[in-house]
């Protein structure tokens, strides 16, 4: 089946033919209008056209999103149904997981969810108006601050459908103007939301400040025009190193790049895991969730797992027992969390196959077809293909000292799942120095994200807005600066 991906330009839908693109994986292809033909309308022509967003109150925005959420039930919404069908072909997530995540979409838009997000991640008063700051050193001066929206391009990732959802919500609460560049492995979900917005309220300012476009990342005809401080102020880029590196060539003063970089995540497990078989079983279950949730398509998922089991014979045996239990737990995960991977990476498969040629070094559980695998290293070194781990394949690495695990952490490390809790407290400062950005209880790496919080060590929403200051002072005090008074003491700065 051929899919048509519309170009959505501030409330208008362009869906006549255009260019054909091959999707990733399943080989599904789609056509989309050539964005070059519509470049003049892609960016907001003048920043003053942001004004309509300021006729809205924050509660108007909340009400809009809340109503939108009720229209995004995947059982009812035909645009989302179409996006789901295409994602079934292009996503690394299998049907039950995709269905579960599409089912969660309306919740993100609920009034209380949106208010909570805005309050925690920016501050509703700052979004709503000019907030007077506590008095400074000179009582004759006043400082007020407001968080104002910006014109931004969002280059979003397609590994999970929530990225597009979050982008639309963040754009609305910050009163910004978004051009969402969708990924080839999910070109329709964000477009489906935008089309629903058009059906619901075609002339509403929030609808008119969202554009959704697909072009092949790196298309200079489009990017050289668009990534220009005259047209946009910010670029929010999710995704791979090559993609972000590519964007950096357009950076110049006036253009702010917010990167949600490629990351990898890991696990550190202390010796307490081996207290008894029941504890180990529980640890294995929690570890299986960190590995398998979202079919390991997220950067939050566990891949290399350091375990302080010891590296002597008994230690290796303990690590292997954990490997065996974890593999079994992985196979038993509920369908909405994880299933065998539908497009198992053939290169990774070749690496797994080659492990049987070096049996003394590694013990492999699973890995025969697409069921996933746990590789237990029989020394304190991860497998050489650690960076390829995906499709529910993880590597348990036994260590004598927790230091070895701490040293493996760097600025590309996003999440670390830790067991037990006390170890998290002991290690958290050191892990943070090393570069880790998120420390979670084992089992929560991919699932503990209910409370809005910083992301990848930054606060993206606080960076998506412009923090504008309004400083006032007593008129006499301002004028006095111009008058020469030789005898007077200099005015304090």
């Amino acid at each position: 089946m051929a899919y048509t991906v519309p170009l959505i330009l501030r409330g208008e839908i362009v869906d006549e033919g255009g260019i054909s693109f091959g999707g990733r994986r399943g080989g599904a292809s789609f056509t989309a209008p050539d964005v070059v033909d519509h470049l003049d309308r892609l960016a907001l022509s003048a920043p003053s056209r942001m004004a309509d967003l300021y006729d809205l109150s924050f509660e108007d925005i909340v009400a809009y999103l809340d109503r939108l959420g009720t229209l995004l039930d995947p059982h009812e919404n035909r645009y989302l149904q179409e996006a789901f069908e295409l994602s079934r072909l292009t996503s690394g997530l299998s049907d039950p997981i995709l269905r579960y995540h599409y089912g969660l979409i309306p919740d993100y838009f609920r009034a209380e969810t949106v208010r909570d997000l805005a309050e925690r991640l920016v501050g509703i008063d700052y979004l709503e108006g000019w907030v007077e700051q506590p008095a400074g050193r000179d009582p004759r001066t006043k400082l007020r601050i407001r968080a104002m929206g910006a014109r931004a391009v969002h280059i979003i990732a397609g590994n999970v459908p929530v990225v597009g959802v979050t982008t639309v919500i963040r754009n609305a609460v910050t009163r910004s103007d978004a051009i969402v560049k969708t990924p080839s492995n999910d070109p329709l979900t964000t477009a489906a939301i935008a089309r629903t917005m058009i059906d619901m309220a075609p002339d509403h300012p929030i609808t008119r400040h969202v554009s959704v476009a697909y072009w092949k990342g790196g298309d200079q005809r489009i990017e050289a025009h668009l990534y220009d401080p005259r047209r946009i102020e910010k670029i929010v880029a999710w995704g791979g190193f090559a993609g972000i590196k590519h964007v950096t060539q357009y950076l110049q003063p006036g253009l702010d790049l917010i990167t949600l970089d490629p990351k990898h995540s890991g696990t550190i497990i202390g010796p307490e895991a081996f207290a008894d078989e029941a504890t180990l079983q529980a640890v294995a279950r929690r570890l299986a969730v960190d590995i398998g949730a979202l079919n390991q398509e997220g950067c939050v998922n566990a891949r290399v797992v350091y375990v302080q089991s010891g590296t002597d014979e008994a230690g290796i045996a303990r690590a292997e027992r954990l490997g065996e239990l974890t593999f079994a737990a992985l196979q038993a995960l509920p369908d909405h969390l994880s299933t065998p991977h539908k497009a198992f990476d053939p290169e990774l498969k070749a690496e797994l196959d080659a492990l049987s040629f070096v049996e003394e070094e590694y013990r492999l559980f699973g890995g025969r077809r697409n069921e996933g695998a746990i590789i237990v290293s029989r020394s304190d070194a991860p497998v050489d293909f650690a960076r390829m781990l995906a499709c529910r394949v993880a590597n348990i690495v036994p260590v004598d000292a927790i230091e070895t695990a701490v040293r493996s952490v760097n600025s590309y490390t996003q999440t670390i799942g830790i067991y037990p809790e006390s170890l998290k407290e002991t290690l958290r400062d050191r892990l943070a120095f090393q570069g880790a950005q998120r420390l979670v209880s084992l089992g929560g790496a991919a699932t503990l994200m209910q409370t809005p919080s910083p992301q990848d060590g930054i606060e993206p929403l606080r960076r998506m807005v412009k923090w504008i200051t309004d400083e006032s002072a007593d008129a006499g005090m301002m004028e006095a600066q111009a008058i020469r008074e030789p005898e007077a003491e200099p005015v304090a700065a």
Partner: protein, 470 residues
């Protein structure tokens, strides 16, 4: 049944001294007979002597080969010859590396002495000193080099067969026999090393050129350690993690040697051109290099006002594609303008294989019958039928090696044809169309350094060592 078929069926290595072209004149039945009986021979010889093959055969419950496709479950993944952990190298555990390699070969490695060995180069030297191996290494993906346990006796096979390919390309003994009528060898590369190309060059300098050879770097050694670092650097760069590479003390200790080579490089280039145009001007020579290197060389030469330097009957052999390098559309013309001749033979091959596939006038690659070709379903790994035109993963069974297993599933996506009809060039048997690409490329990325990119990667790795240790 002809003597040729009988000989090949009994001993595939008899192909070394055979009529090369006869391999492409076999009927389907003859080819199958040769391949099946040779395959049975190799399986019978190696099954119980190679631990890795025995294990795989046991797991698959395979005791005998009744049909060619029976061997498919026994083909090794292409990662097998680099399945050792990198930590062996990082931690200097060369005894364990030797034990690992022993699993892959029937050659006795028990007398190999690794005391004092700190680098891959040293280890390869120790293997050659303490056993019958003369191993070769690849250029390495992500810094891991495959180590192929080729023996001293086997090294002669590949250049001999290649020479016969040239001699018999348009029919038995219709072309020059370079093994008899020697030609000077010109190589814009390293004189020494254990890479497949460096080993081949060394041997060709003897058996094709009787010692009359001109190398760009006549004293230099193409270091496996530097090649490994080059791969790791490239992979790290692609991920933006360049700062994370640790240089081993053993490699740093060789810094002065590298620095000297760097300093000599411009001088080497001058000397190379001077000698090429003085000593070999107008003479028929044998030249072996990949297209991108030739192009660089030609540009450099043309810039110096040199063109048409060699004799009209010279021979160029090439291959390796131009992946990763953008060459202008007229690159071949530029190269031939500089060289002064255009007779060339292009091959598709791999370091792991002893026999390569020449490219014919139709642009197709033909493996001689001593290499069985398979196209596998990329999803299931099952062999696709030998009819029509099939696209999938290339797998090969090289029947020439008698001390290690020649069965390999490649990382290449290919289209194969020629099952029903002979090629337009007249050769019979299956052939590969020219659209060969890595599977990782098909999936949107390629971090393999192929032969074409190797020297440049090697140079950059040396720069890195020099910078880091300055």
């Amino acid at each position: 049944m002809s003597d040729f078929v009988q000989a090949l069926a009994a001993d595939p290595q008899s192909f070394r001294d055979a009529n090369y072209d006869a391999g492409f004149r076999l009927s389907d039945a003859e080819r199958e007979q040769v391949q099946l009986s040779a395959l049975r021979k190799r399986f019978a010889e190696l099954r119980d002597r190679l631990p890795v093959l025995r294990k795989l055969a046991d797991e698959q419950g395979i005791d005998r080969i009744d049909a060619i496709d029976d061997v498919v479950p026994l083909l090794f993944p292409h990662t097998v010859y680099k399945s050792y952990p990198l930590s062996f190298l990082e931690r200097g555990q060369f005894d364990r590396l030797t034990r690992w390699l022993q699993n892959m070969t029937t050659t006795d490695l028990s007398r190999v002495d690794v005391s004092g060995v700190t680098t891959i180069d040293d280890w390869i030297g120790a293997l050659a000193a303490g056993s019958d191996l003369l191993p070769i290494h690849t250029f390495g993906t992500s810094g891991k080099l495959s180590i192929i346990p080729r023996t001293k006796a086997q090294t002669i096979i590949t250049p001999t067969i290649n020479a016969h390919c040239i001699r018999d390309f348009d029919g038995y003994r219709t072309g020059p026999d370079i093994l008899v009528d020697h030609m000077p060898l010109i190589s814009p590369s390293y004189r020494y090393g254990a890479s497949a190309i460096a080993r081949g060059m060394n041997l060709m300098a003897d058996i094709y050129a009787a010692g009359d050879a001109l190398f760009l770097y006549p004293e230099a050694y193409f270091s496996a350690d530097v090649a490994s670092l080059a791969g790791r650097l490239r992979a790290a760069e692609a991920r933006g993690e360049q700062g994370q590479i640790a240089l081993s003390p053993a490699l740093l200790a060789r810094r002065d040697e590298f620095a000297k080579r760097e300093a000599d490089r411009p001088h080497d280039m001058d000397r190379f051109f001077a000698q090429a145009s003085e000593r070999y001007a107008g003479r028929d020579v044998f030249l072996f290099a990949v297209w991108p290197i030739l192009f660089e060389w030609a540009e450099e030469g043309l810039k110096r006002g040199l063109k048409g330097i060699f004799g009209k009957n010279s021979i160029l052999t090439t291959g390796g594609g131009s992946k990763g390098k953008l060459l202008p559309p007229d690159y071949k013309e530029r190269i031939f303008e500089f060289l002064g001749f255009s007779r060339h033979f292009e091959f598709f091959g791999m370091s792991e294989l002893m026999a390569n596939a020449p490219r014919c006038s139709e642009g197709h690659f033909h493996f001689p019958p001593v290499v069985i070709t398979f196209v596998l379903d990329p999803e299931t790994g099952e062999p696709l039928p030998r009819t029509g035109r099939q696209t999938g993963r290339l797998a090969l069974m090289d029947l020439l090696p008698d001390s290690y297993w020649g069965g390999l599933v490649s990382g290449d996506e290919v289209t194969m044809a020629g099952f029903d009809e002979p090629c337009g060039c007249g050769r019979k048997g299956p052939y590969l169309e020219s659209t060969i690409r890595r599977f990782s490329e098909a999936q949107g990325g390629d971090d393999k350094i192929n032969c074409a990119g190797a020297p440049e990667a090697h140079d950059r790795a040396m720069d890195y060592i020099l910078e880091r240790s300055a």
